[in-house]
Symmetry: C2
Subunit: 455 residues, 2 copies
């Protein structure tokens, strides 16, 4: 437990939870409820922003957590020393000490399109095990689902041949945040990340260009921007040259002249400032053979705007607006305990009770509607169930997908959606129907006896 | 290097950088520039959103990184296997293998108020060492500065006696992001975090209440919300009761009745949904002795609105809007190499050249203006220099501050600001003057011969 690093190695997963998960566990133990079989579902109440869909991501890290959390003697001592558990039942401590995850997990595969109110994942386990997992599971799935959704939207807008590079590490929220962003971005269709450690851990080749500092250093030492370009190409032939440090068009004109004189070759350039429409056109006319990369606070909306305005850009570096911003607000709610369906009925935060399945209806390869149903319901003709059994009795029962496979699933999932759901501005709501059986169960379970909830 | 965890232990710090930092290092080595003494400054071009100030944070993690990054044989092999360095100069590999940080760091202490264009930190080191550090330093300081600024604003709005609890782990961007958010929030004035691992690593007591799941589980099993409250209080006397799972006012009325009958005591309650103004007033009138906590997408603007509307709330749980959202966009720019000042002149991204100091002028304890100056300038009467020498020749020369000390510095820094800078809506710009000497150096250094830049 090494301050100041404040990272979360697997041996400390047990404590990576909100305090109340542990105090509630103590209460469950004291009251004999801790081993009751409980089901929690993870879902979002609303899609964030004006997103028409979400791309589920983060299951791999969720499973890693469930497979590894334990409570060591050191952990228990640290908890005791807080003084917060002085009245906890005696059996609380052995329960933690001997515990590991023994439950089941159902989830949609990573790269699956999902909509509001549809479970991304369900944990079925002894109540206390399912309870303490809430914090980490939400953390893992909320963030990667956000990044994957944005990556899928970027790919959808930029087209299949555009080079999309993840450059967000310096703006990501912690080093591990950067690593997870890189993973989710690659898994949902970006081509590469500049994060060397992430790329190597993920078995991919990192990508990048050059920074203004190199141009400035060479200009100061050698008096010439071109010397920076030549020097860099000596060691990285074909590397992208960053040409906007001083005067973009002048730099492009000098390079064009030097190409003509056989003094250099330019495979690609990067523009990081200025009017990307004008500059990309000016650079293309001067360096017609060079691939043009753009960067600088880009997102899918800006790429669409650049395209409409006639920019000629072959690749994009995506950073700040890919890896930060408003989150996916997934929640994790108890839906069944001891076989009894339950629901929350707080103002505007009502949940559907019971263990659920999502059936997606396809017509000629296109997704045309979802049905949120109870697990025991059967698919109608043309419907496919989305949630799959991933863990059984604490063991993972499906091999992890490769990033490439997840990326292919993401692309196919997006392609299966109607254009009106994929559009950036004011997308239509995908039709998600609540099954008759679920409506009846909801009405029956409600303490308020609400006859029917809207989807 | 353990996929799927994707975390960043200190032994892998070397590779936690953008690829171009390493390719530029190879170029510097090949061209004999790698050991030139270079200075980079970390600053923001603009304050984010409508913030009137920033609270610098993250230096502790930045120093941890600088003290520990190394390149192991395993790292070098992984880099070689990418094939990207096939033309790198032979001396590149021993340079990495033998490298560690041998430079100096100047920085403002954590908890210092800082404005746009003012350096938060400066690295002075052999060019390659300063270059590869960019990615991690920005990551560490950008995020924690964002969280600390929000925490300071929350404390400023909520007042010194409000209980402010950090509840953001489930929404934070990765587990380590949650840990860093907890640290920065506590260091800038929040009272506690619900993140157990973060609290323990930071030597603090975690905090929390109870979740809807507990209420729902007891209601399902025992048929009664009150049974959930009683059970929880058996093990956690005085714990806050979450009373909005079904009907907030009905729950408060039942508790009031049971208090009257001597059946229970209620020290505090939490409201997580509904109209917090009405509900808090209704609960206060029924449970006048109970402390009222509120949670649910709160931020400093919402707290101010609740206060104006007459809500009676004693404490707040801060999550999503504290730990996610738009980032602080710090940048890290070369300002001097081999004693020569340099500057970037890209469109609207121009930087000031040279090694700089910030002098803050105080009158009767109030900060009245800053002067961005060159390091060699002297403070005028009443001015205090903000940047301090933190590392010398790779060694930390100032003991790390405790969280408590940083929190005290944050509070004092905020208190020293005029109200017009602290206000949430459309704060004034704090006066930051550019010294005559820096203006002259800028004009002299510019290749465009821009006579004077606006602050």
């Amino acid at each position: 437990m090494s301050y100041p690093v404040l990272h979360v190695p697997p041996e400390d997963y047990g404590l990576l939870t909100d305090l109340y998960q542990l105090t509630m566990t103590a209460c469950y133990v004291g009251e004999g409820l801790d081993e009751r079989w409980a089901s929690f579902e993870l879902f979002t109440r609303h899609l964030p922003g004006d997103y028409g869909y979400l791309v589920a991501m983060g299951l791999t890290q969720a499973l890693d957590y469930l497979s590894h959390w334990r409570f060591s003697t050191e952990h228990l001592n640290a908890l005791k020393q807080t003084g917060l558990f002085d009245h906890a039942p005696a059996e609380f401590w052995p329960r933690l000490a001997s515990g590991s995850f023994t439950g089941n997990v159902w989830a949609v595969p990573e790269g699956t399109i999902i909509f509001a109110k549809e479970p991304i994942l369900r944990v079925e386990a002894p109540l206390w095990q399912a309870q303490i997992a809430e914090t980490y599971l939400l953390n893992a799935i909320n963030y990667q689902t956000l990044i994957a959704t944005r990556a899928a939207r970027l790919r959808d807008v930029a087209g299949p041949t555009a080079k999309l590079l993840e450059f967000g590490t310096r703006r990501a929220f912690s080093p591990q945040g950067a690593m997870w962003a890189a993973r989710a971005a690659l898994a949902a269709g970006l081509d590469a990340t500049s994060n060397v450690l992430a790329a190597i851990q993920l078995g991919r080749k990192p990508a990048g260009t050059m920074a203004h500092a190199l141009v400035m250093a060479f200009t100061a030492m050698a008096g010439d921007e071109d010397e920076a370009f030549d020097a860099f190409q000596r060691y990285f032939p074909g590397a992208a040259l960053l040409i906007d440090t001083y005067d973009t068009i002048a730099a492009a004109e000098r390079l064009a002249e030097r190409i003509k004189q056989g003094q250099t070759q330019v495979a690609s350039v990067r523009l990081d400032s200025g009017d990307l429409v004008e500059l990309s056109q000016a650079v293309r006319s001067r360096l017609p053979q060079a691939m043009i990369f753009a960067s600088g606070d880009l997102d899918e909306y800006e790429i669409a705007r650049l395209q409409r305005a006639g920019a000629v850009i072959d690749g994009y570096g995506l950073g700040t607006k890919l890896v930060t911003g408003a989150p996916v607000n997934g929640v994790y709610k108890l839906v069944e305990i001891d076989g009894m369906p339950v629901m929350k009925e707080s103002n505007s935060k009502t949940t559907y009770p019971g263990r659920k399945q999502v059936f997606r209806r396809f017509q000629e390869g296109q997704a045309v509607g979802d049905r949120l149903a109870l697990m025991e319901e059967s698919p109608a003709p043309g419907e496919q169930p989305l949630l799959q059994r991933i863990m059984e009795h604490g063991k993972v029962v499906q091999a992890a997908d490769s990033l490439e496979r997840i990326a292919a699933r993401t692309a196919a999932s997006v392609a299966s959606l109607p254009a009106s759901i994929r559009q950036l501005e004011a997308p239509d709501a995908f039709p998600v129907e609540i099954s008759q059986a679920l409506q009846q169960l909801t009405a029956h379970t409600s303490r308020h006896r609400v006859p029917q909830l809207s989807a």
